[in-house]
Symmetry: C2
Subunit: 421 residues, 2 copies
């Protein structure tokens, strides 16, 4: 027996693509962790009829739990609670205790703005205190409370801002009606492995070969290309662990050279670990600082990131990284020589022991026959003199090439720090 | 009369949030441009029953057009075409001409990899040449062809990789069956305005006031908070233009000081225009290069971006930007004094005439009572001596604070370049 769920994301700004939905994927992850099978995510605008149609669709598909996000704000286009009440056949009533809580929050918030008519704001926010009869209220994180309505399916109504939704999640999971809805869940194991430098179709070939392994049919495998890496995720019930072990033995024998993660770790995690005790600086041209931004994404990176120079203009390569102008003239800004000079400049300038340089043509202009758009030179240089340089030609548009370049750099860095060639 | 559409995004990696869906929003935008009303986006995993349920749901909702993305690859979990054929009640047949095309593409691709069994790859890709009887084939951009099946609704099947989907779109729109499906579309106008430094609830109050304006009811308005800006999008049929004009008069009178865009332009567009003929450098600490990355996102930015120094370590602030260590000691790295010294250092170091410095506490650690997490100092300095400094306290987590900081910086830069205070 398993528990299935659906997620309803509301908001015209999400439906029309003006804002990327961050809630669907986040809730999906949480549900999977809980052992709940996610069947559908549906997205619609702020139209009551469309929201209701999606609720009815999910109920007809037999899901045990529906999680909605968005449409809890003070403006007239926010009406998820109203629609959910109708769908669950419950009346909406004013929760006066909740109303007082929201008023207190608003009073605090409004202190930041001048010239605001507080009574008008309160009136606008009163509808946020209307809840379906018998529903459980989840305390607001921003100004919007969440709601759990028990039933078949049970409906959990959460706010749209990801920060509020995420902060409210633990209270939602602890709710009794929520726990009842997911009581029959199966606990799955999920393992993720990642490869770099492998064609997805080569992996597909290996998986066809794996079909003859005992128990292979009990593994639910998905593969995808992601940021230039091939990711394979396998979901299975605990008793199928031996089949997964057999599969991994085969994968290791076929693709061991490209397999860099078997424990779900990202190359970013691995590089962060390898940089402990070191001091890194980057010298970037076409990536414009994206590699430094990626290295400093995680808390604690100040322990090993010294800094970066984005030398976008050629004069900046010379002035800030001491790249000889003659090198640029002779070999071009996108060349092994200039990449190495940039890395050496970064080492010196920041007193670092680890440097990565990137110089390439992100396009759409600037390509030549010899060096078409997508040509990128990389250099990793370590304090002990180790120097690894490499050029690649990356596919895609300007944004793809810039982002993919940071991935290539991370993998070169990983291999250099591990002492691999 | 209007034409409604639905989008079905397939792929377990998208459903489970391992890969962010870029296709739904992109297709949504294109449909809106065509004047097609988008009703629903639905996302499901690679399970035939779920894909089919979504197709049936959209058909029952009366949409005229369904666009699917994903599930066209060579692996066994890719089965969108098969499901669509069943849904449209058509048999699948091998298109031998298409098979030859795919083989030619593969031969070219496989040249990059060594040790690949070409026949095995061909066999795996044969299913990509199976199409529903009578369907129109859209030539592959990668290896997967698209398909248009005319009917009620008409179904357009597109590949999952965004680059392939986007490249295939013009051919899909030109297709006769697609054109027939959208023949009854209404042309809408859509206008976007953006405000910075305004509470969303203040705008909500103005919109309630606007309810008394003649024709207001014919405007479909959505508002959202996005990257710290309030965005208002209004959709209306051309005859309602006077109502929109009245609304904008009201908004200008209430929020003129925060309204920075009435033509849909982003602050990035405006800053790019204002930087023409200038030379900018950034000096970044907590943002780790994100502002430089944002400034160089667009093609042609090399005309005005000189570069950046990410001075993550305090020693880098001193060594690379010539910030006096005594300043850091006296005022702390997150202070007006250090922000200004960083900006001055960037101007000098890059021979720039425009500099932006950012230094702040992105968290989660490092906050103090005086300077809690989220405290960020900014300085914009121009060649003529103009210096604008400001501190803000930003909400959210590390990623939010870093990203929001770039938005504050862009707005300060815009105002400084326009000569506003």
């Amino acid at each position: 027996m398993s528990v299935r769920a659906g997620i309803v994301v509301t908001g015209t700004e999400v439906l029309t693509g003006r804002v990327a939905d961050r809630n669907g994927p986040w809730v999906a992850d949480r549900l999977l962790e809980l052992g709940v099978e996610l069947a559908h995510i549906t997205i619609c605008g702020d139209r009551p009829a469309d929201i209701e149609a999606q609720l009815r669709f999910l109920a007809a598909e037999g899901v045990d739990l529906i999680v909605t996000s968005g449409g809890l704000g003070p403006t007239a286009d926010d009406m998820t609670v109203e629609v959910v009440a109708r769908f669950c056949d419950r009346e909406l009533v004013l929760d006066t205790e909740l109303e007082a809580k929201i008023a207190a929050i608003l009073q605090h918030l409004m202190a930041r703005f001048t010239g605001v008519d507080f009574d008008a704001v309160l009136a606008a926010n009163r509808k946020q205190a209307m809840v379906p009869v018998g529903a459980h209220v989840l305390d607001p994180v921003g100004t919007a409370p969440g709601v759990v309505v028990a039933g078949s399916p049970t409906v959990l109504v959460l706010p749209g801002p990801p920060r509020e939704l995420q902060a409210m999640w633990p209270a939602a999971v602890a709710d009794e009606a929520f726990q009842q809805a997911i009581a029959g869940r199966t606990v799955y194991r999920q393992d993720t492995v990642r490869m770099f430098g492998l064609a997805e179709s080569s992996l597909a070939e290996t998986l066809r070969e794996a079909e003859s392994l005992p128990g292979f049919g009990d593994l639910e495998i998905t593969t995808c290309l992601r940021r230039g890496e091939v990711e394979m995720v396998t979901r299975y019930e605990p008793q199928s662990a031996p089949a997964y072990t057999r599969l991994m033995d085969l994968i290791r024998s076929r693709h061991g050279d490209t397999l860099f993660s078997e424990d779900g770790s990202l190359v970013d995690d691995q590089v962060a670990g390898l940089l402990a005790g070191r001091r890194i600086a980057t010298a970037e041209s076409c990536t414009g600082g994206l590699l430094a931004a990626r290295l400093t994404e995680r808390a604690g990176s100040s322990a090993y990131v010294a800094g970066a120079v984005v030398a976008y203009a050629n004069s900046a390569k010379a002035d800030v990284l001491d790249v000889e102008p003659a090198l640029i003239e002779q070999f071009g800004a996108v060349s092994q020589e200039v990449a190495e000079a940039m890395a050496a400049g970064a080492l010196r300038r920041f007193g670092a022991d680890t440097a990565v340089a990137i110089t390439g043509i992100a396009g759409p202009g600037g390509g030549t026959e010899d060096k078409p758009v997508g040509t990128v030179w990389f250099c990793v240089m370590l304090g002990d003199g180790t120097t690894v340089s490499r050029s690649v030609r990356l596919p895609g548009d300007r944004a793809d090439i810039r982002e993919r370049s940071t991935t290539v750099a991370m993998h070169m860095l990983r291999r250099a720090l591990l002492g691999l060639s």
